[in-house]
Symmetry: C2
Subunit: 611 residues, 2 copies
């Protein structure tokens, strides 16, 4: 399939947008009229630049409020159209989007709409131009695709067809199945956008919250499958209005858009049994089976070592060629890298290692989805170990730890790693939580979903004392790998709060013992207010002994239908802290209900603010 | 009236919130439960702090999902309530908010709801506590105040009354008139919030977009008038959930909140003919009659002088005691102050002078609305001239220029001001446009409305190449004073774009002559793309000669039902540029349709971005 994107989806000048779109490997582009109007580039300049970048100009859009209007308005519309046809000829584009009228002057008369669109198509034909008629979800009289198709059928002009837009159809819950009844050659264009479920008016939602397919909650792949079954052979073209993409760097957004299309085509192919061979089919995702390690960049051990030690971790090895230490407890492994340049914020979580059934295949999948392998320094005897960069900069390694069929990264560590056994209760890494830059949240969600095959969970909003934190977990079906993605809309107003905290959550088989051990070692535990425990007594009757224990050990509590969740937090060093969790029964969450307590407690320790 | 505010309306820790609320002069506070739960302060600590700050704790809130539930859930609810009553006794608060059930377990049975609320009230009475029952707009079975009042009447318990909330009532368009039928002593509490008209689900709207009365579009004053007519004598209490206030500095938000209440009380008093004498009545607004001047802080004249000169301004005087020059043309006056410390961005608009019929009364009004007079250096012979600070830091002076009844600031300038007459076409300042910090936009809108008596116009969203600009004008009825408030949600992602541009728009009686004069002087004019003019031809048939003239002179064009609007822009120096406008007929707008063209053109000149 040809891949295209509307210029309105990206930030910057029209020249910037074209460069970014070409750079990301698109085949074509929709020129959004306003982007041309405000540009110093002439239509001929745009045509030349697009050609130089290998981009076909697929569509000129939008032409508004043309059809089903009184006769005098029609004359004005035809006059406007002639001017636009002239611009289109200069651009070298032969397809124009006409969207259904929103004007109060529009008349509810399909025959009139058909007649006037016929006139427009007839004029367009003289210029070799085709008209793609689209039902806006908020059109005055025409607001669903089947209505638009009815009018196109009535008009019956070879230069008139429909434009389908996944947002306009799916946002109003219109059933896309009837698309199959439209002949493919009468579908002149296909625009694609996704959106998160948000309870608001469809126009407002459309203008601010559209996103790329796979980043939201609409079944875009299902719709595309219907369209392709008609024989449609035009481009798949992204058209996204999004407040954040408007501000983000265009090169990066264009790449994110391309990744979304590749993943979408794969989804569509799976739906259709790959009957459309022109769809991309990257190598299938290799779902990770667990965490191999988490790596913290820390110029000196200091507080980090104290925390790990108090949790029952033992230093079990040192890398043979790099200043990296290995700490272990059960299957939980933490690498402490003192060779990286010091971050101004102190220790930071720099990498995670994921257990892969086939690391080479994991890498191929990532590369096909535009996440290239990071260049690395490897010693002559080091085991091969490849990493890709997640959108927030975290390095994701694909590992196969201590399996006979594959060299293991752990063999690069000195022999003394077996010497110090640990008697602690921690068994493995339960999850890692990564704070995302606010403008990379949707990109991150798509990365983990498409590159690693993780499943996104519900998006939550958690109150922080200085704003709202948005949080979304992604995980494997069995929970072996869980990543919590957070974005903090917090106190940007004075720049004094940097909340890019990251944490590693360890699973303990006996959190009470772990907490007692930690406390006995005199290490810094996050203190939970008494008021929390008073409220817990009001909410749950757990028996006095259990309530006393929770309070004594600063343990937080949650439950769902499947089970219970106990957790506590260590103090923070740099950007990093640790959480210890115990899942009892089949509890599936992350204790989100307790996040406000944790966030408020974490604000108590840093510098006091002056308003 | 006693004035109160819910802790949830402000950012920070509970201690920070109480300090800010006390500092802003409130009489009382609602304790939002979650703020207590996450706080390290014990209920006794909170009680003591509030008392030290002179704050009564008016309400403990919210208690959820209590009424109209199955019997086993009722027992659990009563158990929860007893725990909360204990906390309330420690806090020393005797009023609890119970909001209508949202749980799916709730039963649609008013008699059951009444019976269970009676039981709760009976238990509460044992602790000297009263229950204020509130209909949430999204309550499962009880979602309007009259329904809640019906249940309270059925229960008929002295410790049970209703809580009214302006948002829950007005957001759902429930008629508040029937409030008058509720006896005042059965209205146990009154919560107030406003909100801008936004097309979304009421719960989502409530959680993110509430604002203080006078900042949105709801008729809060009308509702309060109905409530006061019942004899209600409890506090007026603000309860606002707002994504921006959550992040803003709490001291400032608390002051903004207090200003809002003072202005609200005045509005209510006007509605009721001041029958409630406990309502505040600040001195009435003194509506300004025009601009006296605009002052630009510019360490050296440079580009600024070149622009003013090319526009036909003449330097007509110098201040007798300060490094300030006066430039004049018609009634348009610009002060250039070279005595201020250099801003890193170069010249900036620092102050505006407004013509006031009574400067002393203007000052009294501002002080009553918490905008204190700024301390100023005044020479022994200088005319008295007082200024207050607008929320974005702009100083607003109250002037009475060259009237025999009042000393005039202009007399502080040297005599040569009369020497250089100007032959230009500029007649006066049409408007000034001020870019607001994003977290002060609502505050600014309330400031201009309440302090200066200006009328807010529709809020607009304008696309910038790197984001969306929100814009709202405020003006006098006759348009003699117009201020455009802009907030730029633009490219915060890399900090490279500072769009805090400000501009002064001068009215010309012959914009073609002004543009020719300006061009002949060789000064820098904002260049408008050819594509804009091609589109203008498509949109309007103005005749070839007029189209040619617009294109030649970089003039932008707009029209409305009343008339036409022509305008052009100068180049930018520092944060400042000038606009020249000509209003033909009764055109009332600001050419907002052309703002995207202007913004894109302004981005062409600064540093080129690299993504």
């Amino acid at each position: 399939m040809r891949r295209s994107i509307a210029t309105v989806s990206l930030s910057g000048s029209l020249a910037d947008k074209l460069t970014a779109i070409g750079g990301a490997g698109f085949d074509g582009v929709e020129i959004f009229e306003n982007d041309l109007l405000v540009s110093g580039l002439s239509p001929e300049d745009v045509r030349r630049r697009a050609a130089d970048l290998g981009l076909a100009i697929e569509l000129y859009q939008p032409f508004r409020d043309f059809e089903a209007v009184p006769p005098d308005t029609l004359a004005d519309g035809l006059r406007r159209a002639e001017h636009k046809f002239a611009v289109m000829e200069r651009l070298g584009v032969t397809r124009m989007l006409v969207c259904s009228s929103v004007s109060r002057a529009a008349i509810d008369d399909d025959a009139l709409a058909a007649e006037q669109l016929w006139l427009l198509a007839e004029r367009a034909a003289e210029h070799g131009i085709r008209i793609a008629y689209e039902a806006l979800a908020w059109g005055r009289h025409v607001s669903d695709y089947f209505h638009a198709w009815k009018i196109v059928r009535m008009a019956d002009h070879p230069n008139l067809g429909v434009c389908l837009d996944s947002f306009h159809i799916l946002a109003r819950d219109v059933d896309p199945y009837a698309i199959r009844t439209i002949p493919g050659e009468k579908i002149f264009f296909l625009q694609l956008a996704d959106a998160p479920s948000l309870p608001m008016d469809v126009l407002y939602w459309s203008r601010h919250y559209r996103c790329f397919p796979g980043q939201g909650d609409l079944d875009v792949a299902g719709l595309v499958a219907h369209v392709l079954r008609t024989g449609y052979d035009g481009p798949l073209s992204l058209e996204v209005f999004n407040d954040i993409f408007r501000q983000a760097a265009s090169m990066r957004t264009a790449q994110d858009a391309m990744r979304s299309l590749i993943a979408l085509e794969e989804q569509v192919g799976l739906r259709m049994g790959r009957t459309v061979t022109s769809l991309s089919s990257p190598p299938p995702p290799v779902v990770p089976t667990g965490f191999a390690f988490a790596e913290v960049a820390a110029p000196s051990m200091g507080a980090l070592g104290t925390l790990l030690d108090a949790l029952g971790f033992a230093r079990t090895g040192a890398h043979s060629g790099k200043p990296v230490e290995l700490w272990e407890q059960g299957a939980a492994r933490v690498l402490v890298n003192s060779g990286s340049t010091e971050s101004p914020d102190g220790p930071a979580l720099g990498a995670i290692g994921l257990e892969s059934p086939d690391p080479a295949a994991s890498v191929k999948r990532a590369e096909a989805l535009l996440s290239p392998v990071l260049p690395r320094m490897r010693g002559p005897h080091d085991a091969p170990l490849d990493a890709v960069a997640a959108p927030d900069g975290t390095e994701v390694f694909f590992c196969r730890t201590a399996r006979p069929d594959h060299p293991s990264w752990i063999d690069d560590f000195s022999e003394d790693r077996r010497s110090a056994g640990s008697a602690g209760e921690i068994t493995h890494i339960d999850h890692v939580a990564l704070t995302q830059p606010w403008h990379h949240f949707d990109e991150a969600s798509l990365f983990y979903r498409s590159v690693l095959g993780l499943r996104p969970h519900e998006s939550l909003e958690l109150p922080d004392p200085y704003g709202l934190m948005r949080s979304r977990a992604v995980s494997t079906e069995d929970g072996a790998v869980r990543v919590a993605l957070n974005v903090a809309n917090v106190s940007a107003y004075d720049g004094s709060h940097d909340l890019a905290w990251q944490h590693i959550a360890f699973a303990s088989r006996d959190i009470v013992a772990t907490a007692r051990r930690f406390r006995a070692a005199g290490a810094s535990m996050l203190s939970i207010p008494e008021n929390y425990y008073d409220d817990l007594v009001a909410r749950y009757d757990l028996g006095p002994e259990r309530h006393r224990l929770l309070r004594e050990l600063n343990l937080l509590y949650d439950r769902d239908e499947q089970g219970e969740f106990l957790h506590f937090y260590t103090g923070t060093t740099g950007r990093v802290f640790f959480e210890i969790v115990q899942r009892i029964g089949g509890y599936r969450g992350y204790g989100a209900v307790n996040a406000p307590v944790r966030l408020a407690a974490q604000h108590v320790r840093p510098r006091h603010r002056s308003d």
